[in-house]
């Protein structure tokens, strides 16, 4: 039996140990983070899937209560796995931080908070750990570059958290308890709609759905690379967790949108998700910084997850969970690959890079596999979840939402290809002549993530029991499978067969390729240039403004940023007004107000 409370406390303690050891030697401190997060992951996975986690709480005071559920275990194992994989990068990036000791401490504190969120039994516990993650991760961000990003993160996160807090206290006062299952099951009528809306606001803020999308690119673009990976693969999944609580556990009864068979509020959430997908995709297509591009991609995938949960039948929800799983793996791998590039070249701007594949081929393969999964192409995990979601969309006649999903899907080909072509392929730029492959310790997690993605895509039925447990717990039918095949509403999918056929095709072509005459190897600069003589690599490298014709069509669209700036300015103006009127150097002003109020009281009716 594994005591959950011990896990959380040990992680926090591990953070303190890492802090102290970092003061002696930075690498040792980072090594502690690897060990602790690895321990957390293995223990949770081993005992969690064996259904033997003990949820009693003794040491922490009694407002913290845990409950072990399949839902919580799924999320906790996945996110702790992401933390574990990313922690391998910590020793290498340690020198670049301003406060490396604090980094290790905060890294583990964030992990502890995240595990606490997923296993919370009442809403107060959930909120405590939720906010804990907010501020510990907030301090991790500025260790990259710039400090404005963390403020943006705080604002949007807090908007979400406070919406949730309002809902929690609303429920606490109404029900007298904050136990999650009791409260969510007991909501009815308008109260249910209010709580549903508020929890969804919290979920949108964490996932980066429209219109809260603004913080994702700023944060993930400016944070250090391990932090970006952890955000995309781990912390955003908290938003998905809240979405599950809101959408699946509460079922506000309301008008149904007959044509598509969904309640109206679900459809509205679906529309928001669809807009997220489209905006995220379009913004990703025009990004020059690889990390910002992946950030918008995370937002768009968050939209897919929301869309899946909105539809609400067993195929869709299984698709949603599978997408959480596949996206976490793929996104983490992609961020880690870009992290390697940043580690070796100190930049992640696509227009400044090129030809990296020749220096770091393994990283390239990892990145390729990750983007294949994110674009939803077989034989990787992303294809399975997209297939399931499309099944559900079609089944429910969701024409507009499906259009958005398709746009996102095809658009994802575009934006994942941009770093591939411009950053990894193309000409080898001379200033990166001496760039080498990533160190072994960085390669290990990337390769593990890639292999898992492939297995998830070829043999998804291996991972389905994990999700089926959740489905049963939530009261839904599980996905029908038959051997290695998955049966959806309007078709059957055999991923192993697809992979086998693909392999056969490649094999046949490979044999043909070998039969025919061997080619002569020439250098990269030796290309068809129509009679011109070019000797500088930059001139033959196409990387800036990669999708220029497409981008030109919507170059001026700000999408949503202007609103937030104007809100901030309005608040500042209010502050200036207050200072001018009330905080002057003249005591006459005070006396004036006193007299005015007294007159108001003395004279006539007092309200």
């Amino acid at each position: 039996m594994l005591n959950l409370e011990l896990v959380v406390l040990a992680t926090l303690l591990g953070g303190v140990v890492a802090y102290l050891l970092s003061m002696i030697n930075k690498r040792v401190g980072s090594a502690v983070t690897i060990l602790v997060s690895g321990a957390v992951f293995s223990l949770l996975a081993y005992y969690g899937f064996g259904n033997s986690i003990d949820q009693t709480v003794e040491l922490i005071p009694n407002f913290v209560m845990f409950k072990v559920t399949a839902l919580g275990t799924f999320f906790a194992v996945l996110v702790s796995f992401v933390f574990f994989m990313v922690s391998f990068f910590n020793p290498f990036f340690a020198e670049r931080y301003k406060y490396p000791n604090a980094f290790n401490l905060l890294y583990l504190m964030t992990l502890a908070g995240v595990v606490g969120v997923f296993y919370a039994s009442n809403f107060i516990t959930l909120f405590v750990f939720f906010e804990l993650v907010v501020w510990t991760s907030m301090f991790l961000i500025p260790m990259g570059k710039g400090t404005k990003a963390s403020i943006t993160y705080f604002v949007f996160s807090t908007v979400g958290s406070f919406a949730m807090l309002y809902a929690i206290i609303f429920m606490a006062v109404g029900f007298g308890t904050t136990d999650i299952d009791t409260v969510l099951a007991g909501l009815t009528g308008t109260a249910a709609l209010i709580v549903y809306g508020l929890l969804l606001v919290a979920s949108f803020a964490k996932l980066g759905a429209y219109p809260f999308m603004v913080w994702l690119p700023k944060v993930l673009g400016n944070a250090p690379d391990p932090v970006s990976a952890v955000f995309s693969g781990g912390i955003e999944k908290m938003g998905a967790f809240i979405a599950v609580l809101a959408m699946i556990k509460i079922s506000p009864a309301s008008a149904m949108f007959e044509a598509v068979g969904l309640p109206v509020q679900n459809y509205i959430v679906g529309v928001i998700a669809a807009v997220t997908i489209i905006v995220g995709t379009m913004m990703a297509i025009r990004q020059d910084d690889a990390k910002k591009l992946l950030a918008y991609s995370s937002a768009a995938n968050g939209g897919y997850i929301l869309l899946a949960f909105t539809i609400g039948n067993s195929v869709a929800i299984t698709g949603g969970f599978f997408h959480i799983f596949a996206h976490a793996l793929a996104s983490t791998a992609a961020f880690l690959a870009i992290g390697v590039v940043t580690y070796r070249t100190k930049t992640s701007k696509i227009s400044e890079l090129g030809g990296m594949i020749h220096h770091m081929p393994i990283t390239y393969v990892v990145y390729l596999a990750a983007i294949i999964s994110m674009a939803g192409i077989p034989p990787m995990g992303g294809f399975i979840s997209k297939w399931l979601i499309f099944q559900a969309l079609i089944q429910n006649n969701l024409v507009f939402l499906a259009t958005a999903a398709f746009i996102g899907s095809i658009g994802s080909f575009l934006y994942v290809f941009r770093p591939l072509a411009a950053l990894f392929l193309g000409q080898k730029l001379p200033k990166y002549k001496d760039v080498k492959e990533a160190p072994l310790l960085m390669l290990i997690p990337m390769i593990i993530l890639t292999l898992l993605s492939v297995v998830a895509g070829v043999f998804p039925t291996l991972f389905l029991p994990m999700i089926n447990n959740i489905m049963t717990e939530l009261g839904f039918q599980t996905l029908m499978t038959s051997g290695f095949q998955i049966i959806g509403f309007n078709g059957t999918l055999d991923p192993a067969l697809v992979a086998a056929v693909f392999g056969t095709g490649v094999l046949v072509v490979f044999i043909l390729f070998m039969i025919f005459p061997k080619s002569r190897k020439v250098g990269l600069m030796d290309t068809y240039t129509g009679g011109e003589f070019i000797y500088t690599e930059e001139l033959l490298h196409y990387s800036a403004d990669f999708y220029a014709p497409l981008e030109r069509l919507y170059r001026k669209e700000p999408f949503v940023n202007k609103i937030y700036d104007s809100i901030r300015i309005k608040v500042e103006e209010l502050g200036a007004f207050v200072r001018y009127f009330f905080f002057t150097n003249k005591p006459e002003v005070t006396v004036f107000w006193i007299v005015a109020i007294l007159l108001f009281i003395v004279w006539g009716d007092i309200i």
Partner: protein
Amino acid sequence: MAVLLIAIPLLFAFVSILNKKYAFYLLALVAAFNFVFSFFLEKGMYSIGGFGPFGINLLVDQYALIGLWLLNGLFFLTVMINLKASKKLATVLIVLLAGINGLLLTNDLFNLFVFLEITGISAYLLTTENKKPVSSFNYLVQGTVGSGLYLLGLVILYSMIGTLNMSDVISRIYTIGATPTTLLLPFMLMFIGLGVEAKLLPFNSWVKGVLEKAKPLSGTLVSSVIAGTILLVFGRLLTTVMVISNADMLITIILIATIIAGEVAAFKSTRIREILLFSSIGQAGLVVYLFTHGLLMQGVLLIIANVLSKFVLFTIGASLAEAAGDEVEELRGAFKNNKLLGIGFTVAALSVTGLPLFFGFVVKLNVLLGIFGSYDLITPIIILVVSLIEGVYFIKLLMKLWYGESNVQIKNVLMTVSVLSVAVVLIVLGVYYQPMMDLVAPIKDEMIMIIQGGSF
């Protein structure tokens, strides 16, 4: 016995005038004595001079005890941290100590006025160390107007109900059968009078002048210790004495305006001391709001949290400002070389913002539960929105202070130690808050007993 807390400081204040050389040691001695002695008090009502129901009573209940322990302790720490400044103002400080204890202990309205004036005058004198005579003068004028109004209200009240004993007021009102309308004028005058000192809008234009260039000693004392005292006194009056239900809407408007104004003004500020002082204003408004709506326990908790946090924040903030300049832009990266102070400051700031693992979060949760409990759905929204604004400017401040290239270095061991201990207290209370809850639990019952029975 409780009277010793007041008498000894007053006595030693006179002695210190005569004996300027040892003034500081007397100060330290008296402050230490008060702090230690306050733990040995027994609860009860103490009559001074035995003049029966007409005389001055001192009331020692849980509420007063909490105030005494907390504020005496912080007074002692503040004085010890700022040795140089304390030496110059030793006499004033001793008088201030007497005033504070008097305010917390007294059970008589006129006595309250006396100690209000004593505290006020010491505060005005303290602020002269900032070398900004105009602001001190403003403070003086407004403070005097305020206490004058209080006195006026007091006089009217006495002429109506014939007693000045705080625990008897309510029963006298019932006996006489005075209606809330007639009582409105005196009580509102007293409310406004105290409101000036308690930093409520629109009576608080003195705050900016006094605190924006405050040195560590006067700034911390005014914003943490004196503010805490005034708020506690205000709280006691609002709960056991005042009947102002007719002016509910007006008061709510004043208080909500205070809260919002404080926070947005802080949002606009770019100077560290200004940010802190506007934050105090906002929090003061929230505290008074809690008291006027009967949320006694939450009010006391918020006062405790605020007093502790502001102690840390102002001590460090004022020291930084004195060392390197007030504009936050000039202070960028100040914590690079002052990591321990930075940690303390960060903990206090996060506590004020209400983030978990810190005491401020526990307090905020209780506050919201309390407000919601009275089925008020709009006020929590306002409080959450201003919390967000507050969080934003504190985080902005923190980020700028940690990340930059400043070379400020502050070397004051006692400051570091005390700041860190308070920070640790904030963390511990954030997790093991049960002892604190037990501490404030008896307050409400005791207050009710006092009102009903005149003693307990």
